[in-house]
Symmetry: D3
């Protein structure tokens, strides 16, 4: 049985290990930074539930992003957080000139022309009825859409709970941390699969799975089925809360845990992970 127990064949030497870990390596270019844009142009409003993160006004974006881009950030994802918008039936404000998200896109595009800019397209914050279901994504609102119980956003901004992205396994309807029925959780695989297929058919430039850590098997599935589309993993606020509070309680080191989770994201999905935590952490590592 001797030869059968050579566990380390293939990775006993640093060069062998480096060949086998290239797909797991990551740096700033493998991260997407989510930006919550408020309609107070000069605002920097800390998000209570995401320590170290804030909502920014359009005038603060360049200053906030410059050091991250200098360190290698290649992509941002913009969430509009309008507070003064005039809502109507069809959510007209979503692509109005003065909407924070639109202004942020123009500003970033001008300041950092090489950045890839992604944008949340949920209409809920812009509709008088608070839903986008009659508009862009009618299929997203059945009872089976809520598939996770991990909150995805700070309570201060209701619609972060309502991402409405086609590739999002959560629905738009619930705006507060909800307790998903077990049946819905059990459908996560089916739900995620059908949405990824639809996104590919519709010409999506990137696929996304969120939350990330409790669904790494689905991340693997989506990559296996769509290997020639970039795949991102969104590290939601509920996941951050787990790591943050566990570390605060002394159960483990926050930095170590974040690195393990980010490494796992890369291991499951070759290209890119998204979430403020990881980006900030890399940034702090470099500046310390």
């Amino acid at each position: 049985m001797q030869a059968q127990s050579v566990l380390h064949s293939g990775y006993f030497h640093p060069v062998l290990r480096s060949w086998q870990t290239s797909a797991t390596a990551f740096d700033a270019s493998n991260l997407i930074y989510p930006i919550f844009v408020t309609d107070s142009p000069d605002a920097v409003e800390p998000i209570a539930s995401l320590p170290g993160q804030a909502r920014y006004g359009v005038n603060k974006l360049e200053g906030m992003l410059r050091p991250l881009v200098d360190e290698g950030l290649k992509c941002v994802l913009i969430f509009g957080v309008p507070t003064k918008v005039r809502k109507d039936e069809r959510g007209s404000a979503a692509d109005a000139e003065n909407t924070p998200a639109i202004q942020a896109i123009k500003k970033i595009c001008s300041s950092f022309p090489e950045l890839l800019i992604a944008c949340d397209v949920c209409l809920c914050p812009y509709t008088s009825h608070g839903h986008c279901e009659t508009l862009r994504c009618p299929n997203l609102h059945s009872e089976t859409d809520d598939v996770t119980s991990f909150p995805q956003a700070p309570a201060a901004w209701p619609c972060e709970l309502c991402p409405c992205l086609p590739r999002d396994p959560r629905a738009c309807r619930g705006h507060e941390p909800s307790s998903a029925p077990l049946t819905q959780l059990a459908m996560a695989r089916v739900c995620q699969s059908h949405r990824a297929d639809r996104d590919v058919r519709e010409g999506a430039d990137m696929l996304m799975v969120k939350p990330g850590m409790p669904y790494l098997d689905l991340v693997r599935d989506v990559k296996a089925k769509h290997p020639t589309h970039p795949l991102a993993v969104y590290h939601v606020s509920g996941e951050f809360a787990m790591l943050w509070h566990g570390a605060q309680a002394g159960a483990f080191s926050l930095k170590t845990a974040v690195m393990e989770v980010m490494t796992g994201f890369r291991r499951a999905a070759p290209e890119v992970a998204e979430g403020g935590t990881g980006v900030k952490r890399l940034s702090e590592d470099n500046t310390q």
Copy 2:
């Protein structure tokens, strides 16, 4: 594009959903209950870091297990926690008559003859040098063995950190929550794959991946490669800490999060998940 957007085809009706979720359903028969057996026969020693869990003396096992078995528990995993054992070079006490683990096996086998009994085979608690590397598992102790930073056990019992199971992606050496170098984390996939292959060659009756949640993609990989061996996922103490402290801080409901994690385990690995948290939770659900 209408027909292409029929996301809910295949699961709009409860019967269609039930057909698609059978592989994700779980009850007590899909859980393994880990038992930490001390050598004080009448002891019930709460484990500080695992609220609701305790180390038990052999005389307390039947009383503790009876209600769980009545609810459908089919399998336990025994960890010996010897404190009075005479250690020697080769860990002779590990299979001595009076060792807590051996006594527990006999007791449970007699009281619950239908239960499937698994047992930790780490020799570290029984060796004078505190390692089992020169004995059973010499290959486990290279620098690349520690692949996770999530602690797997309460500090009071050092060797829960040292499971030494061949299917364990952690090594025996470190006995306290350690900070795994990034290189080691990056090798987790290679490491896990080689060990599962070895276990199958050696005639293992069950494969196990631990920790669970940060490695669900590896759970999927192991099942894909070895579909005709039962696969278990071990929910380690560090994972429990994340959920517990996150829930204590109000980030989410503990019960909901546990159910989501357990559902995810079943979604990724068809047969069985292991961990006191899930078992206790199911039990409490039934008794309330």
Copy 3:
């Protein structure tokens, strides 16, 4: 070579076996009962070639179905067998109010609101030209469509031979047991694959392969390609004939053979098998 010969590792104990066989287990909820509805409301017409099966009038449906539903049946598939319908060029009678299939759907929906109701959509029985090819399924009628020589229906009801379901590997054209050219049989894999893909694109709620037993490899293929759609296997009348006549001749036990075939269906396709034989057999088992 000892360790290499441990064939039974992974299933030596009943609990290990139960973990590994959950995907093969089946009960009434994994069966679909096909119902042939005649337009004589009170008729119960035995089908000569399917011993134990009959065509029913709409008034007889509730009485016939009640005991099956009580035992756990969750789904039926309705085939209209009109004899008095006024045929025209476009098969208008197919969805007329007084068509047996439509009346049966309404009746069952009212009596058993929780049942999932599927319905054959072949237009052949309703068209003056006896084909549905110029209407719903023009692509089905090339020379390569007939891919099996196992008859699928009693001669008394011609269009059971003409299911016309998009997921049916047989064409509509032949209405009597035909002898398919070998070329057609050889195309079964290609044919089945293209149809399943089309059904998914069109929003099908369930995929179906028929006949079942001689095509279990295709069942496996379809499930592998479309894992998030329920998959059914239709046990056609020709398959039933094989089992029935073999058992009558004393070659094997009918019940045992049916159970082996049904177990094989579940082994190849996780969700559901269809056919009167299996349902009746389960029912008789319970009532005896």
Copy 4:
């Protein structure tokens, strides 16, 4: 939706069809002819349950095989049917000079040097205890070994029921058509997979699945896992009985059904199918 319904793209033209069906084509070179050799050198004893098949004495082999080889047969499988052998504890007669199987191998090797000769290695007919379990294949005899209820042999020759081939999903113990418990059927996939893996490790030149038709999904699985080993499918006597009696009762044409089944074997397993029925049928086709 027009373009999405082009079912026949890829096979509308005979040349396109021929390209896609080469893997399903078969002729005499894709068949193995099983030969039951009795120890009466000049005997030709018809097998009641296999119309058209007989047990042959060694002097009759060349005359029987010559026309089949002339038509392209490339491989035979020899089963010894000793009636006068002296049995002992270890089955010494199995490889004795005067054993029918050994004599047949020598005769065929001399008359048809280009033929590939396979041989059943079951010891049961040669042991005083009627089992081979203590000898060659100790692992085959647990309660889970009988996985099918389709009889595999004529009652006149008990050990065709006891093939004992390592790649055989049946055990040696039962010598008459038995009714396999459902649990055993449910383990067929696990059982078949472990045995095929073992055969490959032991240097097998060919893998075999039997029975064939009710296990085509397993045929597909074995080929997928071991694509570089020839794979055979054994069409057992129980399968023949289904086709024969179904055809006798007028349910379908025997020849057509045999061709459909053989085509299905080739579709699921690229190389070779085994069974007297197919060989005889091809032969008759050519001579008529």
Copy 5:
């Protein structure tokens, strides 16, 4: 370790080898012959860079093809090489009656009705602007389309460099052997995958990968994803140049190398390879 080293199990005997190599075998029916049709009806113009190949006028097609068809050729691919065509904005001449390609199709269809005729649909030779991008294939012309540096055509006919087939990993733009930037080569897998998917959706009867030899891994990928569509490999002129000049320099035998490459094409893609070299070579083999 003995049994583990049985490399030749499964292929030690000629019959075992023949079973395992059927998918690699090829003859004239597995080849497509490309025909370059000029608009001088009686022309036979040798192509300097493809020794042994020529452009033919429509009157010369039957004489040239007859011996190849007699040897078993089943399919041709027609490239129009118009020199006198009147070009306009939309390439109207492409399907005009007197266009060489159209005339060739009619001629071949009439002379060899059983042949499968494929045709290049690039519009570049017929447009006044020399591109087909604004017409049929607008998506083909981004900077990432040129993915190979192996020239695909003789310099005399610029548009062989511009195949424009949707399944072609090259773009239309460059008309002379170009040096593709490394980034473009690196995108070959993504590019090829998206195009094959599109072709299937659009109802393509055959998929094609070109060049062949440097992209055999992509050939394997396309076949794995679309197993029920015929797949062809185009052996481009640059590949021919490698073999021709290497053989001329004495590095290896041309015939041997061509056979190895063609065998490799069949090994990677089950159905068909295309290229004048292989067809001519087979033809010469038979006539010598």
Copy 6:
């Protein structure tokens, strides 16, 4: 059909392309440099058939390797080319102190301790009978071992034609460019698969496929089956000849073709390619 034709979704932007091409990128760390070591310590003997390559004496190794290591080379493969060695029956000189290969290993290990050193283990150059078949690799010498007709070495050094590495799809027997029978080429897939499996069982640290370009589909296969072992592709001398002579004849640019081939190697096999051509080319690129 508009949305279905979005070929460039997923790679229209440079950042999207960079995410998708990381697995295809390569630099010096992805190359292995083969070194032919002669037993004249100060020799630098140009290899006629490999322009730019030479055989080196042990004293010349450091000077030759230094600039390559400075540019990032991480691994070398040593081939001994003994001319003065005393041959005997068992090839004792292979691991003698004064054998060139052994001396080279020691020298390189001392001069470049961080390099990973691989070594050819063929015994042929050291045996009096000129074969290693009776010694290390008895299974390699059947008639099916020669699977390629591309010469792998300069005629001046016979045993480069006789690599004998277990992962080598060629046999040891033929020492000059041979013309492999077609049957042997057709077995390449089976042969390569069995050898890679054996290497993994024996604890190999790296797998290798050679030649590379005509077998990229097998490279893909080996990586798919053994994803957690580093995989190398050997670019043999015959492949170099194709590129060199094609470029010399003006068919394409040598540099461009080498880069396309190396990119293809990385695309098919994630870790490493081997061959002097690529290494030298990278080096020249950097120094020019």
